[in-house]
Symmetry: C2
Subunit: 238 residues, 2 copies
């Protein structure tokens, strides 16, 4: 089946978790808004805003898979996991992988809110003092708690994979979290990384997988930038 | 099967979405930390912090179902849905119900952050100006967008149920969202409700279902309070 991914063409954002899974699996997919540019974005938003749609997505990303239209990043991965051979097939293992992905999704909200603690519709420049306060709290409390949790899960599972004995979409997502935090907060992350050696090693292993390595070197991988969720603002990386 | 729900005993919080589903279904369950008080909370936290656990929850709520331990509210409902007859059984319907529940989970984060925009570990009193700004943005942009979306989904589905032709856990969750917003922001909500008449009517129908009605009148329903996610602070309800 040819999957159609609909997501903002200028950012990695939440869509990147889906792109990484599709790329690792060598799946047949189209990144529609990237392929079609402005026309693709218009089509994407038209579909979301369609007043008569029975099952409209709330927001990108969404995936068209045959007759199904699936939104919410973790939900898309729940669907794709067994089909791309990137999650356990037993119910307990599938729920466990999904549970971890949902905690990653929660962390992404917190990462976004470091630069947008007041409103996602406002400019960063309009909430800089609040962003500074939130970022301090994030690094003091939330990063240690969240990454510490994922490190513990990894170590208790043997240190190689987050879930089971094989690569899963959770491993790919942890790669993306580490890569993104390194981009957004290079100084803070450099100091912090020694506390999560397992996650850092997992990041490095994922980056060396042949298909991921080729993807990261290709034009399909959008560079990190200050429109996405991971943003580098020097003043927040003190 | 007797389900064991683990959640904070003093608040509705995220656990309430699970409680409502279990109550509506007349399921055999124990609300462990409520039954056992401080000892129950200690056991809950000990389990979460257990350094050797293979599949530790990141945070409450979690559900023990036989040998499975499942965390993340929407994930628990994904598991319970078909078993409690509260979600469609086909894959597309199940994913759609879950997708809506994930958007409700996202909304809950935004509701929480109206009073805690800077840090969940800080007191509200330490982030009051920021809370005021965030609340303004929330009511100007986020409530219309989120509840407007759910209203549209409901109306496009015939106005009676959020998903399919029967009651689902999504309907119960919408009830909770409306009830909570009424508690936290009575004035703002009173003005806003005319824009989402379908959701309000759905709330009222759910409240009148025999088992839900009995539950709401029982001691098992914890009252809303200022420790939970929905909090009433007069100055935020201007």
């Amino acid at each position: 089946m040819r999957y159609e991914l609909y997501y903002w063409p200028e950012i990695q954002g939440r869509g990147e978790f889906i792109r990484l899974a599709l790329e690792e699996a060598g799946a047949d997919y189209v990144d529609v808004a990237r392929r079609e540019g402005k026309r693709g974005v218009a089509a994407m938003m038209k579909f979301i805003d369609d007043k008569s749609s029975a099952r409209p997505p709330f927001a990108p990303p969404y995936l068209k898979a045959g007759k199904l239209v699936i939104a919410q990043t973790a939900n898309i991965l729940l669907y794709l996991g067994p089909r791309l051979n990137l999650s356990p097939r037993d119910e307990g293992g599938s729920l466990w992988a999904h549970q971890l992905q949902l905690s990653i999704a929660d962390l992404m909200v917190e990462i976004h809110d470091t630069h947008h603690p007041i409103g996602s519709g406002l400019y960063y420049e309009d909430q800089k003092p609040e962003a500074k306060r939130r970022t301090e709290d994030f690094w003091r409390h939330r990063v240690p708690k969240n990454l510490g949790y994922f490190e513990r899960v990894l170590q208790n599972n043997g240190g190689q994979h987050m879930v089971g004995r094989r690569l899963s979409y959770v491993d790919l997502s942890i790669f993306q979290i580490i890569a993104g935090l390194r981009y957004a907060f290079p100084k803070r992350m450099k100091r912090f990384e020694k506390k999560v050696p397992g996650l850092v090693a997992l990041h490095d292993r994922v980056a060396q997988r042949p298909r991921i390595k080729a993807y990261l070197a290709s034009e399909r991988r959008i560079a990190f930038n200050e429109w996405g969720i991971f943003r580098h603002y020097k003043e927040l990386d003190a």
